[in-house]
Symmetry: C2
């Protein structure tokens, strides 16, 4: 196991009706003038936004609003949010929504207190300072409610890049599983896929002797395997929603990823798909992961065999571990298809003829050196092959 | 799943040589005058105390020391520590040692800023304020390095009682698995037992639909089942020590215990044993748990069958689940015996003739109402039967 630091100071407020306590927690964490940042549509229609405002009013907390966050959130709205916060002297950013709203809120929070262009952070500069951020989560997926990370798409060039720093970890996150009951099945499934991807990206490690985190990841994968189909079958199943929601947070606050190298190649390769086609990130991952995993398989057959046996219930073929390893990848792929995820480029809305352009942005875009790094190192030829496997 | 709050803001600093960073973290969390609180013996002999002092000196942090913490830490030393801190205007308490040193440090930290008798907190008053506490852990066991809890024995009456409050959660905890390599096998085994007890106490729940936390607990139990014997066989196995150390922290920071009722009857019943006989808490738990679990079995056969199958590898007897359930308890008991834990009163140093006195303190001591509460409710007759099962 590698040396590590682990720091997850977010205050999690979990359960039914707890969004009504938003004002109390904004106050606890020092907010007096809030930017409420959200997407739109369902947050407004469901009355959630009104309940949040009522809760802020009850604590005499002033607020301004900025809606309009899109999935795969864009830099344009971030600049707008930064200007608004500066103009209105906002001291707390409250995201209401999913990973997109939260990531956009984090970018705004970091940008407000930074003299340069906020995009510097998405080109590798560590975020050391930011306005405090709180979240009210409406979809279990990104894990951004408990992470120090944010992913934004820059509209000039459509680069999708991540930034990181403890300063943008939410001070509090309100997780009410009931808020996710109104999600369309496809979005629920995309969220489930994203959570499982966060687990696989940590599972695929070159570190040895990491039993405790292996077991924790497997535990969360087993939970998703059991609870995922229950939510697809019955969107109103609060209990299944609750199990998925806590699993989603635990999958990404890194308690199960400490002390080990991680992969993240599937995310890196997928980001170009959702940047170009604006598809759901989870749907992109569903198509990406099986291809990436097959390409990585020979690097560590036993690791893929282990997850096949422990999570997917495959019988170990002791004479041919690679058979079991592959069986586990197929089982995962079939699971994703069974909950309604796309299985190839066509179903995702991606085009084979775009592969050269995808590979170019992936490997050369925004200062990259021709390779991408993770469980293994991939060059442009490798990435081309992987995208072709998805066709 | 029940509504819950989860807040674990401790900064964990994990790995080889990291105790040399103690000064840096005391400074980060605002300490300028430190009480170093420890047991003695090995902490001094190993040079650890000197390294910690050097690290504080390097940051120009002043300190005073108070050694002498005994296993099952006593109220007398806590009063002494409170006086010392007040006299010396200490603003940070740094525990160097295991759960006993940490629990004693927490009691001191709470007592210093409280006008009344610190024991009020151990009679049920919530700790709302305390000096900041940091820890350098030397045994994986109690989980106190990441918990808001402290257990102290009051010398008048030998009551062993717990107190709680976010204010006494360590601000940082330094976890270097190598520091645990010098532990005698018996102490390592007692630590392993304590960690597994923290997991079982959370597993035995009356809450339904708690798949995610069930799976996480099972993951940590599986880790202990695998890594425990490796440490007993080779005390210098750093990797096994590392896996156990992180499992011990995760077992008790409550990330796997949220949203569910918990048991804690084994701890409650054991506390009277270690209070009266001054035996190792883990050793007391090894004798207590199998008896308590057998007594609880009929309350929820399927829960005990589930852990038997998922953790202990028992084949489910679908016609007679109680057979599987009991098999799991026996497998756990045999595991504990195999790592060197006592199996009955005699091996623990307890006496059958003390049972009436034990039951009296347990059920009536310090304001209790004749029952103790957990997975089931036990009266004096039940507790008498359980202690007799341990003989």
């Amino acid at each position: 196991m590698n040396n590590f630091d682990f720091y997850s100071p977010t205050y999690f407020v979990f359960g039914k009706d707890r969004e009504n306590e938003a004002g109390k927690y904004v106050k606890m964490f020092g907010g007096s003038k809030v930017l409420i940042h959200y997407g739109g549509g369902s947050v407004v229609r469901s009355g959630l936004l009104d309940r949040v405002k009522a809760s802020l009013n009850a604590e005499n907390i002033a607020f301004v609003e900025l809606g309009g966050v899109k999935p795969n959130p864009r830099s344009g709205l971030v600049y707008e949010g930064i200007d608004l916060c500066k103009r209105e002297k906002v001291d707390f950013v409250l995201a209401v929504g999913g990973g997109s709203s939260i990531d956009s809120a984090k970018a705004i929070a970091a940008g407000v207190v930074y003299d340069g262009d906020f995009w510097d952070f998405y080109r590798g500069k560590r975020i050391e300072e930011a306005l405090p951020v709180g979240t009210i989560l409406t979809i279990a997926a990104a894990g951004s409610e408990g992470s120090p990370d944010s992913v934004i798409t820059k509209e000039e060039g459509m680069f999708k890049r991540g930034a990181s720093g403890d300063a943008i970890r939410p001070r509090f996150s309100i997780l009410n599983p009931a808020l996710t009951q109104t999600l369309p099945a496809f979005q629920s499934a995309a969220g489930i896929t994203d959570i499982m991807a966060h687990l696989y990206e940590r599972y695929l490690t070159n570190s040895e002797e990491v039993e405790v985190t292996d077991r924790m990841i497997e535990a969360l994968l087993l939970t998703m395997k059991h609870e995922g189909p229950r939510v697809i079958a019955d969107p109103n199943n609060y209990e299944a929603r609750a199990n998925i929601m806590w699993a989603g947070t635990m999958a990404h606050n890194n308690s199960c990823g400490v002390g080990r190298s991680q992969d993240w190649l599937s995310h890196t390769i997928e980001h170009e798909l959702s940047a170009l086609y604006d598809c759901a990130h989870g749907a992109g991952l569903a198509v990406t992961m099986p291809a990436v995993f097959k390409y990585e398989l020979s690097h560590n057959v036993m690791r893929f065999a282990q997850v096949a046996v422990r999570v997917w219930g495959c019988q170990m073929d002791f004479a041919h571990p690679e058979v079991t390893a592959l069986e586990g990848i197929e089982a995962f792929r079939n699971f994703l298809i069974s909950i309604g995820m796309p299985k190839n480029f066509e179903e995702l809305g991606a085009k084979e003829e775009d592969i050269p352009a995808l590979v170019n942005v992936l490997c050369r875009g925004d200062g990259r050196d021709g390779n991408i790094y993770g469980f293994i190192t991939l060059n442009e030829e490798d990435c081309t092959k992987i995208y072709k496997m998805m066709v």
